[in-house]
Assembly symmetry: D2
Homo-oligomer: 334 residues x 4
């Protein structure tokens, strides 16, 4: 049994997903791709024998397409996700679910009216072996009740045009979701602190930033977001519980002793670091859809994460702690 998938968006992210679905995910076939850049869509589609569309709505409407993966720019996520809901097709939407709270709410409402979930949001960290082991340790009580969570989120560099609020909405958004998932509580407030910016960061970018968050039951989370750190892609977490701590980010791989140093390499970027997590995300999604279920990060997770990110962006501007207000959680996401 093979799931016939249409991929909306053939930029870098879309291309990576098409490649993975083709070479690393059993029981999946990319049967259609779409992009407003039709030439790009054609190149990608021809490589895997898929139909090609310039309009994602046509792809969603294609009868051959059983499920949809959305990898187009964030501002288009709402319309394509709503189209999938209308067409009754399972959809894996890259993060964010939508860039504004209102847009997220529209998706949430459309899905919440249904008897079962169709939407999954692409928070791939939940599929990483270390993040899963960390959650297992927390849930298993190995470190006691959580009190604090320290997060490091470093990228070597960013493309031109990257802005200070994108550090929240594009980067810290992963830590927001991971925090909610690891601790099992909603984030209720956010603050942003600004050290002097790195002279190696693009002109005008407030980089690094320190984001402080609080959960409903008083767990405190600090996230260092540093997107021009130069030296590599570095994700490290330490969760502090009442009886101990659990941490991830120790770097595996071979060690070399030479020239007076022992050393190991640091990943270049998130694609290398989370390669395996992306694969497992897609495998579990495909297998779930074939069995009629969607169990990954939900529209509610997408909405709540965007709500926290929006509060953090406001805090970044105002310099003040900003509360997060969430609507009631629909029964579908209980």
């Amino acid at each position: 049994m093979t799931l016939r998938i249409g991929v909306v968006g053939t930029g870098m992210m879309g291309q990576d997903h098409v490649q993975r679905l083709t070479t690393s995910v059993p029981n999946a076939q990319v049967v259609a791709v779409s992009d407003v850049n039709l030439e790009q869509a054609k190149r990608v589609g021809e490589g895997v024998g898929a139909r090609v569309y310039s309009d994602g709505h046509d792809l969603v409407g294609d009868d051959q397409v059983q499920a949809v993966l959305i990898a187009s720019p964030g501002f288009t996520h709402e319309e394509f996700t709503l189209a999938c809901l209308a067409a009754d097709k399972p959809v894996l939407c890259e993060k964010p679910l939508a860039p504004t709270i209102d847009a997220c709410l529209r998706v949430l409402e459309a899905e919440a009216a249904r008897p079962r979930r169709l939407v999954q949001v692409g928070f791939m960290r939940r599929y990483d072996a270390d993040f899963r082991a960390m959650k297992d340790a927390v849930v298993g009580g190995q470190v006691g009740r959580p009190l604090l969570l320290h997060c490091r989120h470093r990228n070597p560099s960013v493309p031109p045009g990257f802005t200070s609020d994108m550090m929240i909405t594009d980067s810290v958004v992963h830590d927001i979701d991971a925090t909610r998932w690891l601790i099992g509580q909603e984030v209720v407030a956010a603050s942003v602190f600004k050290p002097r910016p790195s002279s190696k960061a693009p002109e005008g970018l407030q980089d690094p930033q320190l984001v402080l968050m609080e959960t409903a039951e008083g767990v405190l989370i600090d996230v260092e977001s540093f997107v021009s750190c130069q030296f590599g892609y570095d994700i490290r977490y330490e969760l502090v519980g009442e009886a101990g701590t659990v941490s991830l980010g120790e770097l595996a791989g071979v060690r070399i002793r030479a020239e007076g140093r022992h050393q190991g390499r640091i990943p270049d970027d998130w694609r290398e670091r989370f390669a395996r997590a992306y694969e497992d995300e897609l495998r579990e999604w495909v297998n779930g859809v074939l069995e009629g279920t969607v169990t990954g990060p939900s529209s509610w997770d997408g909405y709540a994460t965007t709500a926290v990110a929006e509060a953090a962006v406001e805090a970044q501007t105002s310099g003040r702690r900003t509360a997060v207000e969430l609507v009631d959680r629909p029964a579908l996401y209980a």
Copy 2:
């Protein structure tokens, strides 16, 4: 395009491979299984919709089967591999290629007469990310010309009936192949040293053992083989070159600080430790076969490894350094 595969042998190893081919390897389908234990074969085959045979030769002869994976006991490998060669079907044979030098030579000769390779031997370590990084470091000159290689190969325990020579032929055999591959030289002699045996090892088992090997150009390899080590599955290598060393076996994963200790877990067994290597082995094999090539460990590797293992078993008995004599390498394996 999907490769239709028949799996000979439905014991633990065969079941693992059937499972992997079904859930983790794209473009592969298990269309037939066989086992002398027909009931077992039926259970495994029904789970994936495959035809079921009690005789592996019938499976090899099935027109629906395009390629064969042999996971039956070692003494049957020769006959099934020869059958695949006769049927002109690509075959992935679990290690060993065959348990005796003579049997290996018969396979080697049958294949060497052909214009291209059909046989791959299941030395999965060559697909492990750390082993590959180690080889890259060696080939890339990061530690200079190799001089020594230290290997630790520990299993927590072994099943009843495991014998002292099986420690060579079942366990050290992986280190023999890894050594040849990492250093790029044949092993020309082996010795075995015996400390007092562990009281936790099965009665009569010489466990642990220290195997010493020498390559054609004078690299010295020591392998600790300890199959009743109790504490976990522990593989660690350090290759010493003229300018530095490269090592693998640092344990990744989350770390816990609790009760006065910082700690991480050790894998339970080789299935956990090399889960990903097995997947990549199968993926690369399937993709290669679909493209008409076989590039993994060859019949020559299978033969040479068995020859070294046989010398080591002789050394274990005699207590003396035993030379390894290899036939000339056929042009097919140049």
Copy 3:
């Protein structure tokens, strides 16, 4: 040449210092001890053949005493330090220099009027090999201009009566000094954030706390202070610069593999963790005094650190960012 030292205060800290001066510090002799608990002072003094006083002022006035080490409770530091200055005797005063800004200023003014320094404050971390290597890396430019500093400061437990503001004045005070020293800038503001307290902390203690500090040039420091962490004494720092990071706190020592885990031990307390630093602090102090110089942490460091601690305590109470105002730095401390 031997330095004849008087030790004021024979509680645990004073006893440790007497022991160290006697067994681990060459060229030093404890010739006098004092304590309001005269019985305790006698026991300690007799062990090393020292004269015994109930009043520290008598000890300072003893002609045999060439230099003084103050290890009495913090509120007495001012009077004894001032007495040493009046007597023109070098003094090593345990932290804090004094518990209030005003008291520190009185010492500062008394010393600043002199041609050379007599006072050293007992910030022993500056003598720890790892802290020194971290400072060398920063000063040597190995990680670029500092931007952030993350500090973990964990104790397994605290004695009864330990209060939330003592977490700042007794514990974080070390991080305040270390920050100033590592970065080479004064701290200009502090904030305190409070997660839910650990149920394993003494009733009423706000434990853990997260202290945020800013330096004059915009470096941001976060300190996790957690004095009931249960699992051990755990000090870890990571300084983030424009080109990389330098961290300390990797635990050395032997590693044990057993029962499915690889593990190492965590120090029990600060006496174990900083045993060597205390020794080097005393050795360097003794050698310096014998040569006529005092080069360790100064009254200015003691004053500035108390000023930051006082701001942090205020921030802890008010919940607001609190600025630190320092007097002009006297020329003696340029």
Copy 4:
């Protein structure tokens, strides 16, 4: 109470000891030094106000000298140690006790006739914190009954004139003593294996070597001796017991993340690596002598270690396993 010490030999080792005794060891005073190079002895002696001799026997005979530290070349150790015994003065003799078995036996016999020990041999590893923790783990049963011990002993380079047998007698000799001490058994046989030599080693030097040893109860020890390893001074041990392993050599110190790598430094040489062990060796020796006891490595340890080294040198030449024959252990060393 101060111990008045005479130091025989003012080369690098002697100078280091004089420096340590003066600046890092309480209750010790260097009152005399001697060297056949009188100019050198004068320079060293004047620095610490010690009398100067060209003949070590005159130093031993000096009434001011209460105890002697021998740091002259190995071939002179016998005569000076015997002189100390004759003069009834405690002596700390740098390793080896003497370079030949016969010379060691003469010292052993001279001391064994006495009611109590006077001689200690300078195996400083026994004072290293990690070696001690490893022994504690073994003795405490944390890894079960010992079966194997893997040792790495690497120096970046050696001075001109260093020979293949000096790799045993100067370098591996430390591993021989450490093995005996850690396992608590005598070594009864040795073999030496020779990989191709490093092209970076001095012409004609068999470097590296792999030394295999067996203890009386069948524990097997392998020592990699590599004195031209280029990259640093690297000591790593792993002892394998029936229930687990204990290892030392994890490198502590700060870690730097920069330029795509995480890295730490490796010590330059044994003086850096064992600086603290040398200090503790001297402190414990001085304190013991002042209290009338000598408890460190004994003449017996010196003799047994030289006997094993001599067997290993013979094995190196003959290429054969060589048995070690020890005389009966005198009651003094029970």
